[in-house]
């Protein structure tokens, strides 16, 4: 039955082709006036699961030694059978929810056949006829910042196996096969042709990367190959039907992808200038040295993959209850977080971006595990604000400016921040209630960064004798006989003794001289005394 549906959807696509074209209206580009570029992207994202898609072998990091994480199924031993890893399915559901897709109650797996040395079984298990999710969208910022965000439609998300890694040695003319990657779960995320420039394509992939990391379904690392893109590019004269598309395979950085699209556009423009409708349908590669695309094969050479429903895996049924369960555990999505920071805490656009851009979780955890709060900068910020008890703007100032500034000057990342949110929170509170001066607060922050400690900020402030001096009159709540207060009294007395000329000048009416005496006291207090309190105290004593 699914097969029939699959075919119907092919038919629907061709009927809707006109709709693809008009979906975004005409986008004029000054680089190629009179022409329009239409781009669609297929992204392969490795699923961040501890285990492979159909076997219990561990997934691998690029640093793992070769052929270490292989079980008999991965090597296609005769008599082995696949077993679907439910964690991969849950992570695909997370992704589908984040991409506002329709999760299919039943989907199925198909075999895609071709002979290649990196494919031990001779087929890849994928979801050709009935993918796990369809019809979603992703909103991306327009590269032209003044414009409205762009809604990119997601045609489908499908689960499939990654291949082994083949390394060709040109000297010995041999290929070496590493099966570590063979059978790792991938999500293929396919857009409709809704993108109109290399920059939009770049924005799409970056937004998708951030999204996958936020939901924990992939670490989206293009350099390490856990995210790869195939891009379809066609060029047409404005007002004319869409041009013939060429597919550029296996792009592994946003920069290369944008360069490939730019080159491919210009190549097709040249062909179109010679005579219209002359772009042959091709699959192309990208040369990372010359920044040019090159022909891999023409449409006529396109292989027939002989898709066949996998006879072992049957129907993948996903209940409403399972979707609800995944939804309940879905981490906050980037745009939800952005809205919340702005509306609940009243942060500015700029501050929100600063906070969200702080690189926090270095590694996306496996199998969608949620790291405890405090993991990300936003979690840290949330903890500090403690449901609005502290002023978010003051908290942001301490976190975004002071803490981050100090970490940056130490060339440390936020993940290396040794100060927990309780310590920083108490520090902020002490500055706010006058227990610490701003200067002492910053000193304590630097001290904690250099000498990480489990002690509370208050204990440390006292230990380091940072607690601000208070005077009976300036701070009626503090007891006049408190040690800090008496220390201020004695410092004031010291100042009078040390600066007799200035005292005399003040007494004879030179008001301005008082600043010098205040400065002397503050210096002697090592920042513990604040100027206002010292001035009041000095005035009081000198009037006597």
């Amino acid at each position: 039955m699914f097969l029939r549906l699959g075919q119907c959807s092919h038919l629907r696509c061709s009927l809707r082709y006109r709709a693809f074209h008009s979906y975004r209206g005409v986008q004029e580009d000054s680089r190629w006036p009179g022409y329009q570029v239409i781009i669609g992207i297929e992204t392969h994202a490795q699923i961040k699961s501890r285990h492979k898609l159909f076997s219990n072998a561990l997934t691998s990091e690029p640093s793992d030694s070769t052929n270490d994480h292989v079980v008999v199924f991965d090597a296609a031993f005769p008599g082995t059978l696949p077993k679907l890893n439910p964690n991969c399915v849950d992570l695909a559901i997370r992704t589908a929810l984040a991409l506002k897709s329709n999760i299919q109650k039943s989907s199925s797996f198909d075999r895609k056949h071709y002979f290649y040395s990196d494919l031990p079984s001779g087929y890849q298990i994928t979801q050709q006829y009935a993918p796990i999710a369809t019809n979603g969208y992703l909103q991306i910022p327009s590269p032209n910042l003044s414009s409205e965000p762009i809604q990119v439609r997601i045609k489908q998300i499908q689960l499939e196996q990654d291949t082994a890694k083949s390394t060709f040695n040109p000297r010995t003319l041999t290929s070496q096969i590493d099966l570590n990657r063979a059978g790792t779960g991938l999500m293929e995320i396919v857009t409709l042709p809704d993108l109109r420039s290399p920059e939009e394509a770049g924005a799409y992939v970056r937004t998708l990367q951030a999204l996958l990391r936020a939901v924990g379904s992939s670490d989206g690392n293009m350099e390490q190959g856990s995210l790869r893109c195939d891009v379809n590019v066609s060029v047409n004269r404005i007002g004319q039907p869409p041009g013939t598309r060429c597919e550029i395979k296996n792009l592994n950085s946003v920069r290369f992808m944008m360069a490939a699209i730019t080159h491919e556009t210009q190549r097709q423009l040249k062909l179109l200038a010679e005579s219209p409708f002359t772009v042959p349908q091709e699959t192309r590669g990208f040369n990372e040295d010359t920044f040019e695309t090159f022909k891999l094969r023409s449409k006529e050479d396109a292989p027939d993959y002989r898709y066949m429903p996998d006879p072992n895996l049957g129907v993948l049924s996903i209940s409403e209850a399972r979707i609800a369960e995944v939804k309940a555990k879905l981490p906050e999505l980037p745009w939800q977080m952005r809205d919340r920071l702005k509306s609940i805490y009243g942060l500015s656009d700029k501050d929100t971006e600063v906070l969200m851009k702080i690189e926090t979780v270095k590694d996306v955890p496996f199998d969608g595990r949620i790291v405890g709060t405090g993991g990300s900068a936003v979690d840290y910020f949330d903890a500090l604000c403690e449901s609005q008890k502290r002023d978010p703007k003051i908290v942001f100032n301490w976190l975004g400016n002071e803490l981050l500034g100090q970490l940056t000057s130490k060339k440390a990342s936020f993940t290396e921040n040794p100060i927990n949110s309780d310590q920083l929170g108490q520090l902020i509170d002490m500055v706010q209630d006058g227990t610490l001066t701003g200067t002492s607060g910053k000193y304590l922050l630097r001290h904690l960064l250099s000498n990480p400690s489990g002690k509370t900020a208050r204990d440390l402030a006292e230990e380091l004798q940072l607690v601000a001096f208070t005077s009976g009159t300036a701070n009626p709540t503090a007891s006049p006989s408190s040690p800090a207060s008496s220390e201020l009294d004695s410092l004031v007395q010291d100042a009078i003794t040390a600066l007799p000329k200035e005292v005399a000048a003040y007494k004879s009416g030179h008001q301005g001289v008082l600043n010098k005496i205040v400065g002397w006291v503050i210096k002697q207090s090592r920042g513990r005394a604040d100027a206002k309190t010292v001035r009041i105290e000095l005035e009081r004593v000198l009037k006597q």
């Binding site: 296609a76 005769p78 059978l81 077993k83 001779g122 002989r306 006879p311």
Partner: protein, 508 residues
Amino acid sequence: MRRNVNLTCLSSVPRRYASTLAERNRASNALIYLNKPQEKAQKEGQLSGLKIAIKDNIVTRDSPTTCSSAILRNFVSPFDATVVDKLHDSGAEIIGKANCDEFGMGSLNTYSIHGPVINPFAASQDASNQERRSAGGSSGGSAAAVAAGLCDAALGTDTGGSVRLPASYCGVIGLKPSYGLVSRWGVVSYADSLDCVGVLAKDVDTTSSVFNTITGYDTKDPTSALPGIRDAASTYCNSRLEQLESSLKEGRLDGLKIGIPQEFFPQELSESVIHRFRQSVKLLKERGASIVPVSLPATSYSLSAYYVLASAEASSNMARYDGIQYGERVASTDPEDLKKVASVYARTRSANFGPEVQRRILLGTYALTADAFDNYFLQAQRVRQLVKNDFNNVFSMPNVNESGRSVSTESVQKVDVLLHPSAIGAAPLLDEAKSADFALDSYVQDVLTVPASLAGLPALSVPCLSTDSKPDSRLEWPIGVSIVGQWGADRLVLAVGKALETATRITT
């Protein structure tokens, strides 16, 4: 100790043992690898003392698994199939590996690098009757090993009749259980949606005890029936057996309804088969069973559908034998060939796959091409559903494995089991099988067995009474009758088989 694999095969077997088993094996060529005789006593278990042979497409760690193919000539699996583990655990002694058609593809056990299996039935007849006949396939070695008395039971595999057909030709019991009841982990796939591990034995009781040992839910097999579904089927099956219990105890079948599907008597069916099938029906009727004619109208399309689906899956499953991981690579002498990756695969596969496997790969590859997929593969899948619906319409027990399928409300007579001949004739002569136009003819051998395979139903072949009244020697060769039940009614099928076996023996 089981890790020590000796590839030198028969020559390394101790002399005394060899003189018994290897010599007795020589006439039939049923076994292709003999395990060293067990020095230590086996584990105590349900099958203690039972000697069992394993079809060579079921993987074993302590002996090679060649699938009778040149491409796996030297292959030794690093793990045991689940069924092999279960046999070890139950105390059975595994004596060796049984010959078969290459990867289970064939109906006569002639497509084997180990040579054809010769039906041992001749040997037990008088010396003048020395025709060389086929043991049937693809589990011909398993059936012949049992028939020749080399073992008490053997595991076979049945994709479209590969257990029932050789059982019929060799005159032994052959059970193809319900699809999903016996784990396929370690069974080298030919067509996953049809492959079943089956049991061949001298009698129904042995068949039952081996089946009871190897059945069970296995998490390693995604098509293994879940415990809940097994329980549901058992509940229906057991309640029916309880109703029949009192008469079964007395060797009677009062209350049992047996359907005879009218479409299972094609033109190709030989006279003697019809004659002996009638005798079996008579025996069952005499014991109180009521015989009901039924119709399974989709039967005539099932053979074509089967060959499209089985070949398509075969073309997919054979893809891994490419000379890169499995199979000895055949190097080309033509330097032009080295430039094309395809020729590396083509040479190895052309040299190492036998004619029948190549034929099915080509047929299946075509059925899966974009242009043919709709008219062949999808059409065959639709036929398969019609075949399933036909069976569901005639059985009184519901199919617990087919959720949500509407069963026709037509008021047809519902039956407990179906009965039909296992094969269109007795074992063909091996010389006949060699003729070129026999390749397609041999597909017709499966016409009666594929419907149950397509529907995943339990089917048991039991030898018919031999006809001694006619002088034609051809009639003396064994012929089987098949009992087919609803999905999960394996115990009911075995109970009816037991009654038929008893009735046949008493009469003989």
